[in-house]
Every structure is written in C-alpha cells, then in structure tokens.
Symmetry: C3
Subunit: 412 residues, 3 copies
Amino acid sequence: MASTYRNFLTSVPWLILCLEAVCMVLFFFLGFDISPLIPYPAFQDVNHMMVFGFGFFLTFLKRYGFSSTGFNLLIIAVGVQCSVLVEALLHFLIGGSSWFDDSLKRITQASVSMTSVVISTGVILGRANPLQLILMTVVEIIFFHISRCINTLYLEVPYSNSLMHVHLFGAYFGLAVSSQFPEPSPRAEKSSSTPKSDLFSMLGTLFLWVFWPSFNSVLFSNYRQTAIYNTYFALAVSAVTAFVLSVLTTKDGKFRMTDIHSAALAGGVAVGYAMGSIQHPWIAMILGLLASVIAILGSSCLQRCLNPALKIHDATGVHFTFGLPAVLGGLAHLLLVGIEGWINISRYINSSYLGSLVMTHLGAICQTISVALVTGFITGLILNLRPFKTTPVSKYFDDQFYWEFPHLAVGF
Amino acid sequence: MASTYRNFLTSVPWLILCLEAVCMVLFFFLGFDISPLIPYPAFQDVNHMMVFGFGFFLTFLKRYGFSSTGFNLLIIAVGVQCSVLVEALLHFLIGGSSWFDDSLKRITQASVSMTSVVISTGVILGRANPLQLILMTVVEIIFFHISRCINTLYLEVPYSNSLMHVHLFGAYFGLAVSSQFPEPSPRAEKSSSTPKSDLFSMLGTLFLWVFWPSFNSVLFSNYRQTAIYNTYFALAVSAVTAFVLSVLTTKDGKFRMTDIHSAALAGGVAVGYAMGSIQHPWIAMILGLLASVIAILGSSCLQRCLNPALKIHDATGVHFTFGLPAVLGGLAHLLLVGIEGWINISRYINSSYLGSLVMTHLGAICQTISVALVTGFITGLILNLRPFKTTPVSKYFDDQFYWEFPHLAVGF
Amino acid sequence: MASTYRNFLTSVPWLILCLEAVCMVLFFFLGFDISPLIPYPAFQDVNHMMVFGFGFFLTFLKRYGFSSTGFNLLIIAVGVQCSVLVEALLHFLIGGSSWFDDSLKRITQASVSMTSVVISTGVILGRANPLQLILMTVVEIIFFHISRCINTLYLEVPYSNSLMHVHLFGAYFGLAVSSQFPEPSPRAEKSSSTPKSDLFSMLGTLFLWVFWPSFNSVLFSNYRQTAIYNTYFALAVSAVTAFVLSVLTTKDGKFRMTDIHSAALAGGVAVGYAMGSIQHPWIAMILGLLASVIAILGSSCLQRCLNPALKIHDATGVHFTFGLPAVLGGLAHLLLVGIEGWINISRYINSSYLGSLVMTHLGAICQTISVALVTGFITGLILNLRPFKTTPVSKYFDDQFYWEFPHLAVGF
C-alpha cells in the first residue's frame, strides 16, 4: 500500500500539471470574440449550479463532504478548459463557422457539457480517487463531444438541442464506468449519511432546483421564455409528486430525504428535450409528474432488483434522477414532434418526412446511450488498471484518505 | 395513534394528487404570453429567496431541519400553482384586462403572494403536519387574493402595491391560526436550537437580507431604482440597530442570534409600502431603525407579556419580524402620503381629496388585518378538527415523526 | 474584567448609534440620481459575495461561526454607509464632476471598497471585539479612500482601476493592525477548525469563487466581457494548481483544505489589476498559476519562518491569499503595460512617456502598501489602548464571549 500510495502521490500533481500546460499552450490559439449572445447573469446561474449546487448536492455521505465539494471544484476547473479546447478542435476539424462567435457562449457550453461528467462522478462517488476522476473527466468530455458531433452532423439534431443529451450521456457513461469498479462492502458504515450531511445535500438540491430553469434556457435565445416557464412548472409538479410518492413507497408512510433530493430534480431533466415544442404548461406538468414517478419507483423497486443483478453500485441514484427521466424526456419529445407533425401533415410536410424526423430523433437518443455505455465500459476498464487503482475498498467513502485532518474531533 | 397515523398516511398523498390533478386541468386554460415585463434575474432572485432563503431561515430548530426546508419546498411548489390559478380566476371574474400580460410576471406575482403563506408557516413551525400545511396554503392563498381584490377594487390601492400587504396578511393570518393549535409544553427540549442549526438559520437570513431589494423592487417597473436604494439602506440600518439593541436588551450585554435574524429583516418589511414615495435615503434609514427597534423590543418585552396572555405561541417571532414592522411601514406610508399631499394641497389637490386618500390607505391596512385575523381564526379551527389533527404534542418539533431516519447517529 | 466588560457593554451600542445618527444626518445631503450605469444583477452579485461569501469564508474556526457571519454583516452594514459618505465628501472637496452620477454605482463602489475592511478583519479574526472592528472599519475606509485619491490625482491611475487596490490595501493594513494585537497562545484549542466548520468555510469559498468574475468586472463598462473571461480562466487554473501544490507540500501527499480555500481565490485577486490589458486567456491562466503557487508556498514555507520572526498572527492566511497575489498582479500589470508600450514605442508614444507610465504604476503600488502599513500600524496602536481592549487572550476565538448561548449542547 505504501508504494501504491507513493505512486499516487507522485502521479496526481504531475498529471494535472501536464494537462494544464497543454491547455495553456492550446489556449494560445483562442482569442476573445466579444459579442455577448448569452446574458451574463444566465451564465452565472449555470456556473453557480455546477460549482455550488452539484458540489453540495453530493455531500450526503457522512465522511465525504470535503471530497464531494473539493473534487467537484477540481473536476469543473479542469473539465471546462478541456471542453472549450475539444469543442474548438472539433469545430476546426469539421469547419462549421457560426458556432463559435462568442467567448461567453463558449464557457457556458463548456459548463453545460461538464454536467455529464459531474453526473457520472455521482455514480462512482466515494470510490474513485482524484487521479481516476481527472482521467475520466478528460476522456468523457472528448467522447461526449464526439457523440454530440455525430448527432449534429448525421442525425440533424439542432446544435443547441444536442447539448440537452448531457444527462443521458452522463448517467449511462457513469453506470458503465461504475460496473468496473469493485463494489463496497454492503454494510459499510461510512456510505451512510447523517442528518447534517443530508441537510447540506438539501442545500445543494435547492440550489439546483432554483437554477434549473436557467440551465435549461441558457442556450436557447429564440424560445428562452417558453423554456423557463415549462421548466419551472415541471419542477414544481415534480417536487410535489416526490413528496406524494415518498409517503406511498416507504413502509411506515414517512418521507424519505433521498427521494425528495432525486425526484425534485427529475422534472427538470425530463423537460429538457421537449421544452421548446411544449405550448401549454400542463404538458410540462405531466412530464414532471411522470419523471418523478419514474425516479421514485425506480429507486425503491428497480434499484433493489436491477442493480444487484447487474452488479452496479449507484451511490447517488443517478440512474433514476438523471438517466431514466432523460429517456422519458427524449421519448416525450419524440411524441410531441410526431403529434405536431401529424397535425400539420397535409399542410407543410409529407408523411415520409415526418417518419424520418421521428427516426432521427429516436436515433439520436439510441446513439447517445450506446456511445455512453461502450465508451464508459472501456473507460472503466482503463481506470481500474493497476497504476490508477490505488484506493483500497476499506478506504472508500472516506475523506481522511485524501485530506489532511488536523481536527481534534473527527466526528463528521 | 396508529389509526390516526394511518389516516394521515392515506390522506396526504391523495389530497396532494387531487390538488395537482385539478391544477393541471385548470392550467389547460392558461397559455403563454411572452412579453417579458419582468427581468428574468429579478424573478430568479425572488424564487431563490422563497425556496432557499425562507427554507433555511426556518431551520433554527434543533431537530426540524428536514421539515423546515422540505415542507417549505412542498408548500411553495403547491402554492405557486394555486396562486396562479386563483389570480387567473379572479381576473376572469372581475374582468380587468391589463393585469395578465406576461407569464413570467404571473409566476413572480404568485411567488410574492406565497410569502404570506411562508410567513404564516413560520408561526406554527413544528406544530403543523404536512396535511394541515397544504390545506392552509390553499385556503390562505384564496383569502389573500380576495383581500387584495377588495383593496384594489374598493379602496383604490394600486395593483402592484396591493402585493406589499403580504407580510401583514401572512403574519396576522398565521397568528390567528396559531391561537387554535395546542401549545407545546413550555420546557420542550426539542423546540430549542443548537449553534449549528442557528448557523444554518443565519445562512437563510443572509440570503433573505441580500435579496430583499430584489423582492421589494421586482414588481415596480416605474420606480425600481428608488425601491432598490431605499430597501438597501433600510436593511443596512436595520441590521446595525439589531446589534445595538440586542446588546442593550440582554441581561449580560451579549448579542442574541434570534434578535439579529429577525431585526435585520424588519427594515426591509417596513420600507415595503413606502419605498416608492420616499425621495431621500435618510427617511428609509429612519424607517429601518424604527422597524428594528419594534422587532427587538417586541420580542424581548411584548412577547413575554402579550403572548402568554393571548395564549399564542409564535415559534419564529413572526409577529415582531413581519407583523409589527409591516404595520409601521403602512403608517409611515400614510404619513408620507399625507405630508406630500399637504405640501401640494393648494396646487394639485384639495383638502377633501387628501383626506379620502389617507382614509383609503388606512382602510386597506385595517381591511387586510381584519380579513387575515378572521379567516385565519376560522382556518385554525378547521385545521384542528379531528381528521387533520394527527400530530401529538409530544411529537412537535420532531423530524423523526415525518421523515425516515436511517442514520445511525441522530444527534442533530 | 467585570468593569472592563461593563465598559464594553455601555460603549458599543452608543458608539454605533452615534455613528448611525451622523450617517443619517449626512445622508440628508445625498439625493438619488437614477441613471443605472451598473446592471442591478452585477451589483447583487457583489453584495452577495460580501455579505454571504466572505461571511461564510471566515467560519472555519471551531467556535466562532456566529461572530464570523454576524460581525461581517455588522461591519458591512456600517461600512457601506461610511464609504458612501467618505467618497461623497472627498468628491465634494476635490470637485470632480463625473464621478457620482448613479446611486447604484455609489453603493457598488462602497461595497467593493469594503472588501479591504473585510480582508483586514480576516487577519485579526477572533481577536478583535466588535468595538475594535467598528472603529477599524471607519478608520480604514477613510484611509483607503484617501490612498485612492492620491493614486487618482497624483499618480494618474484611472478611477475605476484604483478600486482594484482593495486587496493590497486590506491585506497590509490588516497585517499592520495585527502586529499590535497580543498573540494567542500557540496551542489554543479553540483556534482550530472542525470538519463541519471547514465545510461551511468551503461553502463561502465556492460562493466567492463563483462570483469573482462579477466582482472584477462590475465597475468596468468598457471591457466587462474581457474582465469576465480572464478572471474565469485565472480562477480555474488557480483552483487546479491549488490541488496540485497542496499534494506536493504536505507531508503524506494529502490535500489540505485551507490551501484549497486560499489558493483557489488567489487567481482572481492577481488578475484584478491586469484584466483589462490581457488580450489572450493564456496570460490570465499563467497569472492564476503563479498566484496559486505564491499562495501555497507562502502559507507552507514563509508563514513558518516570517510570521514568528515578525510576531504576526494571520488567522486566515490573508497575506498569502490576498496580499502577495495582489503584489504579483500589480507587477504583472506593470510588465504588460511595459511590453505593450514597448511594442508601440515608435508609433504612438516615446520612450520617456513609457518610463513615466511604468513608474507611476509602480508608484501607485508602493504608495498603497506604505499608506496601508503606516495607517494600519497607528490604528493597531489606538485599538489596543486601554478603553478598547476588553477581550482577554483566553477568550479569543470564542463565540460565547460575545453571544448568548441558550443551547444545551455547545459542541460546535
């Protein structure tokens, strides 16, 4: 263990430094183009969500508060730089022209893309060391942008919409990576939460809940208002339904905090795809309701059956908070596009065009999930090679393995 | 108790579901009108205040952090939907035309209206179960909008100004409801706070303090700047005075955290009515000073004499944080309108018009308080009928009665 | 002690009240000029940073959470009013005309100026009583504005740029004041942190990190976009480097939380001077890297050698978080101005003008540091005169000396 740890000690900083050096050199080719297409407060909201909201959303583990918030900051600081560069590179290779006309838009898109990484991190929370997290960040950002490019170029998904696949990609990539990690011992006392850590997690959840309309609307200048209203109402119904179902699914009819955390956000995820084509708030509300139902029934039923069978350990319930609601949202979008097309079928479009429209949308969803699963699986294999795998299972979910604890009392 | 509890178990989710179903059906009649009169960041600030600020403002109870933040989210998610619908219904019945021209304005007005419910919740914090809270939310929102309509139609209060009665209505409605609830045993160990829970409450207070200028200014497009400056300075003086008076009123000359929490906000409440007619910041500052004096002297003197006599238990000190400062603000507004009118008396207006102006303002305040007290009293009676009254007094202020606690250590 | 304390009890509230009375009277001469040059959301971000971000940034001490957040609110509420008045007075004496054209700009400038006081507070955190803090606030704000005026009038620093000296002034003023305070006993158990208090401090740090681009850009209408991008990338690199160096400098290769707190912000401080003249993000990134290196090497090496020799106790590591990075930023700005001038030397400017430009910039930095040190030293002497020095060394870092603790369990 000592030698493994020394390995870790020597490798992490140098890896990060090399990465930073590469970033800085490559940033040499990026100038500033100052024509703000994105209002600064909207960018700020997204930035706040990523750094603060997700950081504290993940603090529910008893002894993992430092790592949850700290590593989240590290990943985002590294990942946003990588994402800007990867996107610029792809843009250079493919040669689109109108993509990259605003520096603030660039950072905003990078922040939104980073959601996929942060979601994946949630699945392996407490089991991956910083070295693995950083490697995963770089690899995942690259594959996410490639998957996006495929969607945009071959499946004709509009460019901004393609970013709404973050939840889908992040959740399934994370689950595939997680399947390669050793499982923690089932009665690990450290993997539980305390009332205080749950309250910190509630703090992060409320932040995410409040800023989700900004997240969904930030990249859509043409229907920003519609996106805001739909997301707001979907979130509201989703939060209410979370309380309802939490009472119905627990044994003695009490509320379960983790249900509230995950289900309250599911509505925002589900409405992400379709928000532009929803013309009435009640459709968004029904989507929010269904997303919440999926999130809670998923976490209470499926998690018990499915995860042990597939040997997946999903620390934050990412599959039910982000994965399934995103699938639901994609299918709902498909349905709405189909219905809208069918209504207008005689007037503007013919039936074969409608069919191809629906098929490309469906194809984009399937493509994203497949790429996420395959690349996630490979990434998981690589991350668990000898040189990267330094955290013994007994030190999972433990801040003290990564952080100095000069404190006298360590009762977190 | 078991059967009562089963009653609770079966009733809460179905009540909420029915409510949601009604909401969704009614929302069918509401479309989107997209002409943003309210800047999105301002709406976001108000939303943030309601969900996050008030949620954590109420976490000062030792073992009630989950319920404070969780039920606050539930109430707001339910209440905003109801409020939008009630306002649309009243608008439809009365037939005003220019009220409802922006969807974002609609949600913002609903959020601001919800302040009254959240304030009322503060009075009965820890004593009401979720069923009672949701019933109270629906009933209070309806009565608040009716009271507003009376003010607007018969007392000629400008429409936007009428929303500034939220604090007044919320505080007195809550106190009237509270008078019907059984009192907790006076030496209930659970109704106290810990340094940590007080710090969480400070977190919420600082949020409210920072965003109060947004709250006061969000609905006033014509004098937004003035509202912001006046509120900011009133809050600053109010916070400073809170420290001064806290030292002077405690036995050994120390600061009292609860004083800081309540008095720092009193200035923002007091300036809410008059902010449009204040032309110099020093007037706002004096208002902030007086509001803080009332809040602290109220909590240290009156609470000891008045509340036991009237048998009112006011968990958060709502009467002195929101009730009395709002009365002060209303009277100050009256005075300023009177003085301004008296100066211009010869030029624009005659003396009888001035008299009627002052009387209608006074009438609006009295009308709001009376409606709040009467409807609150009735609501309190209904909420304490057999089917709704499920929480035994010994389980007051206790998260574990409502929430699953899988945690090993429950020392909050 | 009893009599000293009575002295304290009687003096604090009256001092604050007198100050408030003076403020209110003087505010009589200030009207409102409503022409918003500063967007309200940007002001709100700065306000949020000051009240909430710095408040919680300073909560890392085990038993000093109430005082950290509470006194921070008190200082800002008092200081902003003083700052507005001092600036108005100086403006009146000197007679510039275009300075004061917007009320919101006035409050924003006052908030930004208050950063210097909040930074100084960080140095003597836990050792100064509220009386000393308020005196220091008033004195420091006056001297800071005088130093700014010297810079603007005699050294031709642009007016907005002169506000970026806040970090420099605050850090060295605080250190000079601190040198006059008695040192706490080295193994004071109370001056340490707990995991929970470190997490609260992380909460504040993340707030500061997220809002720093707003802070740096709020006063620069002509190159706001550039300031935002440069600050964002400097902060990102700075955060990443903090993790790298934290591992390299600790004994067993773990991360140290205090390093992350201070180094993550150093990048934003360093880029403050030069952000307008940086044309490529990679320059900002290198500045962020260097700032982080200075902050961490400073705290791990210099603090051990330098501070005991100079008998300075720096509770928050302000010297390395704000002081040295600000010096670095100033020198980098100098270099960039020099290089840019040298490139254009034949075309627009001659060599002697370039020399004088560089010398005035250098002069401004030296002037700020000297004024800060001298006035800080004198202020420290005055604050430790008999009537103000009421806190015994054994009661340092202890909330219970200042706050009522009705809580049964006081284990913070």
